[in-house]
Symmetry: C2
Subunit: 240 residues, 2 copies
């Protein structure tokens, strides 16, 4: 293990894209619901549109603090209601809308994640640091078997990543200085924000995250402490 990493005590993980394959999971989830309910639609397009609203919807929260913080479940739901109309899905009950929105709680991990986290957990405190709300992340962990030690969410800090309050908030709750905490992400932007605050960084490429729409994060674009091909490689590089 690199000497500069000998003081790292905790790893905090980006979730959507880094831990879970949200696109494949949601397309399957919606397609299943469509089959059960005799609804046909361009579910891949639906999911891509749902995700495309992600950053703008968080920006809207960031730009309007006077409206108060809005959790991701509620942002997802606003977009879902709009897309059900836009994609002409027809009548969808409140119970079904709630079920569909909770598709984000049922996302499945990339194949290396559970094995890699289980190894990393033997040596480090492992936690998500995600824009997902606490209930979303907690339900996801139960569904997917993610062995987190503790769950950190933007909801706890009333700020979305990449706001500094999230990274420093997680380190603060762990009572660790930033340099003893490593951010793990498939997104260079997340790591730039973490590094600027003194955290250590690990980049794991997930080049199929957005499928044909992927236009970034094929490779590291910063001086990250670790570049690993997947979570098992990360565990190996960290001496687990």
């Amino acid at each position: 293990m690199k000497t500069e990493l000998s003081n790292v005590k905790a790893l905090i993980f980006d979730v959507f894209g880094t831990v879970v394959d949200w696109r494949t999971s949601l397309i399957a989830d919606l397609s299943w619901w469509g089959e059960q309910n005799s609804v046909r639609a361009d579910w891949a397009g639906f999911v891509d549109a749902w995700r495309a609203a992600y950053f703008p919807s968080m920006d809207d929260v960031r730009k309007h603090p006077e409206r108060g913080y809005v959790i991701l479940d509620d942002l997802h739901r606003r977009t879902l209601d709009k897309l059900i109309a836009d994609f002409k899905i027809g009548d969808v009950s409140e119970a079904d809308r709630d079920y569909l929105n909770r598709g984000w709680h049922r996302l499945k991990p990339w194949a290396d994640v559970v094995a890699g986290l289980t190894r990393l957990k033997t040596k480090f405190t492992i936690a998500p640091l995600s824009n997902g709300n606490v209930a979303l992340l907690t339900n996801m962990a139960k569904n997917a078997g993610l062995p987190w030690d503790v769950v950190f969410s933007a909801e706890l800090f009333k700020h979305y990543k990449p706001d500094p309050e999230t990274y420093l908030g997680a380190a603060g709750l762990l009572r660790l200085p930033p340099e003893q905490v490593m951010k793990v992400a498939a997104h260079n932007g997340d790591l730039h924000a973490a590094k600027a605050l003194g955290l250590k960084t690990a980049f794991i490429p997930r080049v199929t995250e957005y499928a044909h729409l992927q236009n970034r994060d094929f490779r590291p674009d910063g001086e990250w402490n670790i570049v690993a091909r997947d979570f098992n490689d990360l565990a190996a590089q960290l001496g687990c």
Copy 2:
């Protein structure tokens, strides 16, 4: 399982006394340190005095909101420094004081806890709801093998139990109405506070918690939904 409990989705646990045997653990922890450092003292008396400062120190935080919230690690440390003087322990380095204070992170569970939680986790979201701070609870879980799904601490709500913000805060983060959350505790007072807010309640007696100083909580004193002899019995009564 009782019909009234069929909607319970999550169990939130008191920790000090209910999950971990703080008194026996700390006496052993301090005695070990004393042996290693050739310090002899009345460690049982020391631990009882440490714990005796617990409620007054939280009351002090509650009565002085203008000073800001103080986490339990820091309250423990203030008492520790005082007791090192009172018990004439001699010179204790900063590193040793920090180590001793983290004895609260190393508390050991009662013998039925890990097996019982593992069963309960198959059917419910399980989490501590404790006055311990997040780092304390997270480190304790790693040391003791407590398989929490998520960690709830008074620190997240900037209020100590039995303030309502703690119980309602945990239910809120889970996105559950209070009646779908059950508080599990060895202390009737904790359950009275939870029940008043609409939570379900389970009482698990821990009649040796305070050893010869125990003067309450030998038996249930309210209409709790469940009274169980230990965590395995709780799991059985909840159909796990």
